[in-house]
């Protein structure tokens, strides 16, 4: 186990789009780093270069302070768990785990001890003599892990370690993996396209896009203070506003205006993108002046325990997810809502920092589906009994000493869209 340092790695291919431009990062001894990025950004290429399975054009790879970039893969002391596992089909479970130890010339007794230890570690104690193709996907995954760990590599790399598993198994294995790697004090690099893997397992986060590292640092740091709008979107932020800065306010027609938070640079006339994280966004009834200044229309809502998660459409161009905690009655699609957020959770990026406008895929999809539903003429009108709901709301709000809002106005936008 040792510190891994990657310096200015460059690798270009003649025929492929994926190329590494200038990749640098370091993983301290015993820490787990996750490389996050969209597919095709060069994540796997970085692993292959560290492993020596592909040669670098420029740059250096150091393990424990010594450069290994000129060594062939088999002397580097780097472990890799392949995305497709690449278990040896001609060997049984024990043979697979033994392989690295045999290459090191371990005696039979030593190998048996180590193998027993690893089988116990990954919970496959009685499966040593099974053929690998007889095992379930999760068990094969654990054999691959044990095999990679067996020769005690200086750094262990895992390429999409949870890719092939179903959601329930993923959740379970994420925690197990983190616990195991920490117990072994293993320096590890995990490649994933799923932020949840990184959050659950890693200490550090390295965000890549198009062959470059956009940001690297402790995971909480990257999540709280993404360096660019791209990073912010990749770690889950959604665009609230793309507008012009004037008098300390970012304004966009039809969406609203938000006061620029303290500590952000910018002068009047700058184009600024404002991003917020769904976990820190609240939807509140419109017209109370409670919001941050962004106004939207509910596109869809799903119950989430006693409250609800909303998809809020902003000026019909993008949607953001937000929680509704105002009351137990989620607003129906078409309702106007204000978005509210703690000022410190919003991120502001002046135009130069915005690489390209890109929306988070998932909300967009949800929005499309919902809008289709709204547009479908045969769909029953949401029309709640006009008397009951306002009374209900009025009662609740009366407790809080807030005036009831007239309903027809709120439903109007949805009705307009249906008719169009």
């Amino acid at each position: 186990m040792a510190t891994l340092s990657v310096q200015h790695l460059q690798r270009r291919y003649d025929d492929e789009v994926v190329a590494l431009e200038d990749v640098s990062f370091a993983v301290e001894d015993g820490r787990i780093a996750a490389i996050l990025g969209p597919s095709g950004c060069g994540k796997t290429t970085v692993l292959r270069l560290i492993a020596g399975l592909d040669h670098v054009d420029h740059g250096d790879v150091q393990l424990g302070g010594a450069s290994i970039v000129h060594q062939p893969p088999h002397t580097r002391g780097v472990g890799l768990m392949f995305q497709e596992l690449a278990l040896f089909p001609h060997l049984d479970v024990a043979g697979n785990i033994d392989f690295g130890l045999r290459m090191l010339g371990w005696s039979r007794e030593d190998r048996e001890l180590r193998r027993a230890e690893l089988l116990r570690l990954v919970g496959l104690v009685d499966k040593g003599h099974r053929k690998v193709h007889e095992l379930s996907g999760g068990e094969q995954q654990r054999v691959a892990l044990a095999r990679a760990l067996a020769p005690r590599p200086g750094v262990l790399m895992l390429d999409e370690p949870l890719g092939a598993l179903d959601e329930a198994r993923k959740e379970e294995l994420r925690l197990q993996l983190r616990e195991l790697l920490h117990r072994l004090r293993m320096t590890a690099v995990i490649v994933s396209h799923d932020l949840r893997d990184a959050v659950a397992i890693a200490d550090d986060l390295i965000v890549m896009e198009r062959g470059r590292v956009l940001q690297a640092g402790p995971i909480s740091e990257v999540l709280a203070r993404p360096a660019t709008a791209s990073v912010a979107r990749m770690v889950g932020y959604a665009t609230l506003l793309e507008g012009t800065l004037e008098d300390g306010c970012v304004a966009e027609d039809g969406v609203g205006a938000v006061r620029m938070g303290a500590g952000n640079q910018g002068s009047d006339g700058d184009r600024v993108t404002v991003l917020g994280h769904p976990a820190a966004l609240l939807a509140v009834p419109a017209g109370h002046g409670l919001g941050t200044g962004v106004v939207g229309v509910v596109a869809s809502s799903r119950p989430d325990g006693p409250v609800a998660r909303l998809e809020v459409s902003l000026a019909d161009r993008r949607t953001v997810a937000a929680r509704w905690e105002w009351d137990n009655e989620a607003p129906p699609p078409g309702t106007r809502v204000d978005l509210a957020a703690q000022p410190g959770t919003l991120r502001f990026f002046t135009h130069t920092a915005v690489a390209r406008p890109k929306r988070a895929p998932a909300p967009q999809l949800a929005f499309e589906v919902d809008r289709q539903d709204v547009l479908r003429p045969a769909f029953p009108e949401p029309a709640p009994p006009a008397e009951v709901v306002p009374i209900e709301r009025a009662r609740i709000r009366a407790d809080e000493d807030i005036e009831a809002e007239p309903l027809p106005e709120a439903v109007e936008p949805a009705a307009e869209r249906r008719s169009s």
Binding site: A51, L53, H55, V56, H70, V78, L80, E84, M103, A150
Partner: protein, 558 residues
């Protein structure tokens, strides 16, 4: 930057096969080209165009070409007519003894041509079963030897197994749900077959047809023994021109015509082969959903089995029966004759032939295994356009008919320090060259289908390139290598065309000995020939059963 990448591994692997095909294929071909088109051996003049014109205007040549093509087309059509129903039966109908019968039905492909020819002669030739039977009911003997029908029957005999192997392999692995889906979408049973199953089978059928065409177009042993006046294929014509008439330039020109045709058919085969390897996922017999066998299918099974029994079973039984017949009864006397020494000049001693046959077969198998493995490794490590170029180059030996190869050696290795006439090493090289593509195909299939990350995984676990080879590549390819090696063994054991041209009595092989014994009159000579043919039959059949046992999956490339 990286020292390892300076010379790619594929180059090293490519060198090994080039060491064989360079001197023993490309050079002879070049020498033949030279001889045919550039200089006349006698005068030093360049009568190229004369020869070409002579060959082109000679009606005889065109007749031979037309006959060769015609009989190859007829053989291919007949083979498909029997092979496709048989493939259906073996792939889709369950009946007792299915696996055993399928193994037996695919056996003829590896049988030496000389054995096939002799078996057919025992069945329908003079003194064969058919004439004996006709004699019993008072009909006069018929002359089947030397007719086109005899040649076609023998061709179907040993090529039906190619169709059966390739087509039934694909058919058995087709996803039945595709046809079911077509039925649910409103297709009739025949419509579903026509629109779903048949298109999926078409590449397999076409590629097996291309292969059958190649083999029958270059047919030598069968035609030489069973044919007669007016029934010479190009291959036999080349043999006669080169050895009897000594018209070397003409033989060389015809050799290139011959190779052009073979090459064309094989390129077609390779293209179809690539298309075929898409949707297959081998399933075990047990995992397959078997339908109820319908009445029509029962009739089809009976018909196919009867045809195969008549076509494959009868000649082999006739051969064995002939070998065991002594005078009026049965006995092993024919085998005993193998130990007799008649002491005549230019007589090939049976024991010596058996010894040399085994020596060549073992040597060629070893050589072919090494070369084939290296060639497969080189191709598997190459990507893109170069992969097909390399594949084509390394498969070239398949496109060169054996007689042409032998002829090429005769005109090449005949002077100076490389005068290898009379050296058994030349024969060994020829056998290895003809055999290694079988190892190559078998092993390459594994190299291409196994996870390409396995060697990388091994390297990251500390295995040096040599150890990756030893602990991962070879063990995984071991079975395919064994299958290829057995094929090589059988090919070398049965090799007839090149051997006939290059042999000397001191190191002649069994097929040549059988051929010579057949050419001499007398019951004793025939008995010896039959006994040796049965030995060849047993040895190749044993090897073949070994292959069946070790074959991973239904789909072999041969």
């Amino acid at each position: 930057m990286n020292r390892i990448a300076l010379v790619p591994a594929r180059v090293w692997w490519g060198i090994v096969p080039l060491l064989l095909i360079g001197p023993f294929l490309l050079w002879p071909l070049g020498a033949m080209l030279w001889r045919a088109f550039v200089i006349d051996s006698g005068t030093g003049a360049s009568p190229t165009l004369e020869v070409v014109r002579a060959v082109a205007t000679d009606g005889y040549t065109w007749k031979r070409l037309a006959f060769t093509t015609g009989q190859a087309l007829a053989s291919t059509a007949l083979t498909l007519a029997i092979g496709i129903p048989a493939a259906y039966v073996f792939a889709n109908v369950r009946f007792p003894g299915r696996t055993v019968l399928r193994a037996v039905a695919t056996l003829p492909f590896v049988l030496p041509t000389i054995v096939v020819a002799l078996a057919f002669q025992r069945l329908v030739g003079s003194g064969g079963w058919l004439n004996d039977a006709l004699g019993l009911i008072g009909l006069g003997p018929i002359q089947a030897t030397g007719t086109l029908g005899m040649i076609l029957a023998a061709h179907v005999f040993y090529n039906v197994s190619i169709v059966l192997r390739i087509v039934s392999g694909v058919w058995a692995n087709l996803d039945p749900r595709a046809e079911e889906a077509a039925r649910l979408l409103g297709a009739t049973r025949f419509g579903a077959f026509r629109r779903v199953t048949f298109p999926a089978l078409l590449p397999a059928i076409a590629s097996s047809a291309a292969l059958v065409f190649t083999f029958t177009f270059t047919s030598f042993g069968v035609v030489l023994i069973l044919g007669g006046p007016g029934l010479d294929t190009l291959e036999v014509t080349i043999y006669r021109l080169a050895t009897r008439l000594l018209q070397l330039p003409e033989a060389a020109v015809l050799s290139f015509v011959q190779m052009g045709a073979t090459l064309g058919a094989l390129v077609l085969y390779a293209a179809l082969q690539r298309r075929m390897t898409v949707p297959l996922r081998p399933r075990s017999d047990r995992a397959r959903p078997w339908r109820e066998t319908s009445r029509g299918e029962r009739i089809l099974v009976a018909g196919v089995l009867a045809a195969l029994a008549l076509l494959i079973g009868a000649p082999i039984l006739a051969l064995v029966h002939g070998a065991l017949t002594v005078g009026g009864g049965f006995g092993l006397d024919n085998f005993g004759r193998l130990f007799e020494d008649t002491g005549r000049v230019s007589y090939i001693e049976p024991l010596s032939a058996i010894r040399w046959s085994l020596t060549f077969a073992i040597g060629a198998t070893l050589l072919a295994s090494v070369v084939g493995l290296a060639a497969a490794a080189a191709i598997a490590r190459t990507t893109g356009r170069w992969a097909s170029v390399l594949d084509g180059l390394l498969m070239l030996p398949l496109a060169v008919p054996a007689v042409v190869l032998g002829f090429g050696y005769l005109v090449t290795f005949n002077r100076g320090w490389y005068d290898l006439r009379g050296s058994p090493w030349l024969l060994l090289a020829a056998h290895a060259l003809i055999a290694y593509p079988f190892v190559l195909r078998s092993v390459l299939a594994v190299f291409r289908s196994r996870d390409p990350r396995l060697p990388e995984a091994a390297a990251l676990l500390g295995a040096s390139p040599v150890r990756v080879w030893r602990f991962v590549e070879v063990p995984i390819a071991a079975r395919a290598l064994l299958v290829g090696a057995v094929f090589s063994f059988a090919v070398s054991l049965g090799e007839f065309g090149a051997t006939l041209l290059l042999q000397r009595p001191q190191y002649a092989t069994m097929p040549v000995a059988i051929f010579q014994a057949l050419g001499r009159p007398g019951q004793a000579n025939l008995g010896q020939a039959l006994a040796m043919a049965v030995i060849l039959l047993l040895v190749t059949a044993a090897g073949f059963l070994l292959i069946e046992r070790f074959r991973y999956q239904e789909l072999g490339e041969f």
